[in-house]
Symmetry: C2
Subunit: 339 residues, 2 copies
């Protein structure tokens, strides 16, 4: 049954049925969550599994905070602060104020009371010995995000940044407290290379019709996921379509340029695709202003499609997601049943 809600935005027609289609998405936070809303609208009958980045995770006031998982969960579950793009809507800050009165808390990373409750629940379950994947499943029972949300790993992974002055800080501290100022010398998802994928991750990739990379930060969101042994290999064996988070030489949102510079990659749609590599990527969605990327010799083997790529609203985002699906299906048809 073809149940797709046709976006108002001009979009390529989708071939075949989408119901029952299995799509696995490797996801960061805000950008991924917005893309996923569009993907759900574009393919309402699809079974979507989201493999979420946990490199941003941090322990604050003794509570385990998983910003990317929560952003996806809140966004798809209708609890997100639409103004911020992260955290809960209609928040109060009693806990943060009280912690400050005790000389505690984390002034540069203020969590709202509702958000704190999520972290209390998570920390309690983790302390009971339950793995993060199970904890995430329990939290999602409330939010019903309409996707299966898996952390990339149940093992603890934390991205750390070494600054030019030699200081080593948690990614969140560099990103949120220092606003990505202070030239980063290196960015490493500590623990990722030794981690095991969470239960179901490799299977969700292997069983997917295709894999989509949303316009998340390639260094600190998608990068840590691909660093967990087995995930990149599993994805590379599938048709993978990614959407560029770089438009016209600048990140659409956030400070991806600071991250790309730190790992020696130019902030351009071509350079990011080359960074992912033709062994992983089959299709690369870029904005219309970057259509020249299609002729870049460094992207040989990657099919580039240029479309309007700004996620302005749900309709435009659904159109982008529909294009990603369409591109993936076209590539698969060309590659044949074993592609």
């Amino acid at each position: 049954m073809f149940t797709m809600r046709r976006p108002g935005h001009a979009t390529p027609p989708l071939s075949g049925t989408l119901s029952g289609m299995r799509i696995t998405v490797l996801a960061g936070g805000v950008g991924a969550a917005r893309f996923l809303r569009g993907l759900k609208a574009a393919a309402p009958g699809a079974q979507i599994t989201v493999v979420g980045n946990t490199g941003d995770d941090i322990t604050l006031s003794g509570l385990r905070v998983c910003p990317d998982l929560d952003t996806v969960m809140y966004t798809l579950g209708g609890g997100i602060s639409t103004e911020q793009g992260w955290g809960r809507q209609d928040e109060s800050f009693t806990i943060a104020d009280e912690l400050k009165a005790y000389g505690g808390g984390t002034p540069w990373f203020t969590l709202g009371d509702k958000d704190f409750a999520t972290h209390i629940m998570r920390t309690q379950m983790l302390a009971e010995g339950r793995p993060l994947s199970e904890v995430t499943r329990v939290l999602c029972e409330r939010w019903q995000p309409g996707v299966r949300l898996l952390p990339m790993s149940d093992d603890t992974i934390e991205t750390h940044v070494t600054l030019s002055d030699g200081r080593r800080v948690h990614f969140q501290e560099w990103w949120v407290r220092l606003h990505a100022k202070g030239q980063a010398r290196s960015i490493v998802p500590e623990g990722a290379a030794q981690a095991r994928p969470a239960p179901g991750v490799l299977e969700a990739i292997a069983d997917a019709d295709f894999v989509i990379l949303p316009p998340s930060n390639p260094v600190v969101s998608i990068g840590p996921i691909l660093t967990v042994p087995g995930i990149r290999e599993a994805a590379a064996a599938k048709t993978v379509v990614a959407t560029s988070g770089i438009i016209g030489g600048a990140p659409v949102r956030g400070m991806a340029d600071a991250c790309l510079t730190a790992i020696g990659v130019e902030t351009s749609a071509a350079a990011v695709a080359a960074h992912y590599g033709a062994d992983l990527l089959d299709g690369w969605l870029v904005d219309e202003q970057d259509k020249a990327v299609a002729d870049d010799p460094s992207l040989a083997g990657i099919e580039v499609r240029a479309i309007p790529l700004y996620m302005r609203d749900l309709d435009s985002t659904a159109a982008i997601a529909a294009s990603a699906i369409d591109l993936a299906q076209k590539i698969q048809q060309r590659k044949g049943p074993n592609g």
Copy 2:
């Protein structure tokens, strides 16, 4: 320097100077906290050390809650809910509501948001390996309760109740959830007999001019404190004056009768004093309606004084505290310098 604020209530005159006097109080929760407010008013120049019961402590939603320590800290620090006698004033319940939405939380023990922040701070510090006595000191830096507040022990102690049907529950569950219904077969402060007194506890008792027991529950508040090895012996070596929490055969507040029945002690001022024992108690303050207790042969060796014993307001409570001090001083004078 004599700096006592003279209570408006009729009260025996206090002899000598109170400034620099060292008083150590073994304390439960609400009753003790109210008594301590009166004691501070009656003896503003005194150095008061409070040894707090930790048998009520419980882990809720993964956070360590110390109800008695917090009630003393909040009450003396001006943060208590004056209506309830426990918890913070002007509370909100966002966290509790959110935990419930996740299917978590503890519906029968609802904590407010401000209170949650205290438990988050405490749990974080405990997880860092800091002992409860140090954690309590840090929390008190904010509240400035005007007394030195020590937990009876840094070791984990939890009072458990065995019900007549054989069920074994945490004291809080019996007290708060079951409203002390269901005949208690036994009440045991688990871990107390194997615990060590917290640093400073034995010294505070040994160095005190005298020890006061406020009208706390003799079974579940004072009982666990006296069970920690060394504390009863240290107190017995000093002049100890206690105030009865039983007036006219009934507890002034709470359900002490249910606790006393469980350990086979009659709910009367005489029986409670006999339960404490003449080896421990030197003086016993009872209400005027219980003045006949003075002639009870089972209380030989304990000096009984009958006064108005209801803590109606700060003035009446200060008068009770002043009587306790006066009785202790009179007993000391009689016993001589080594009493």
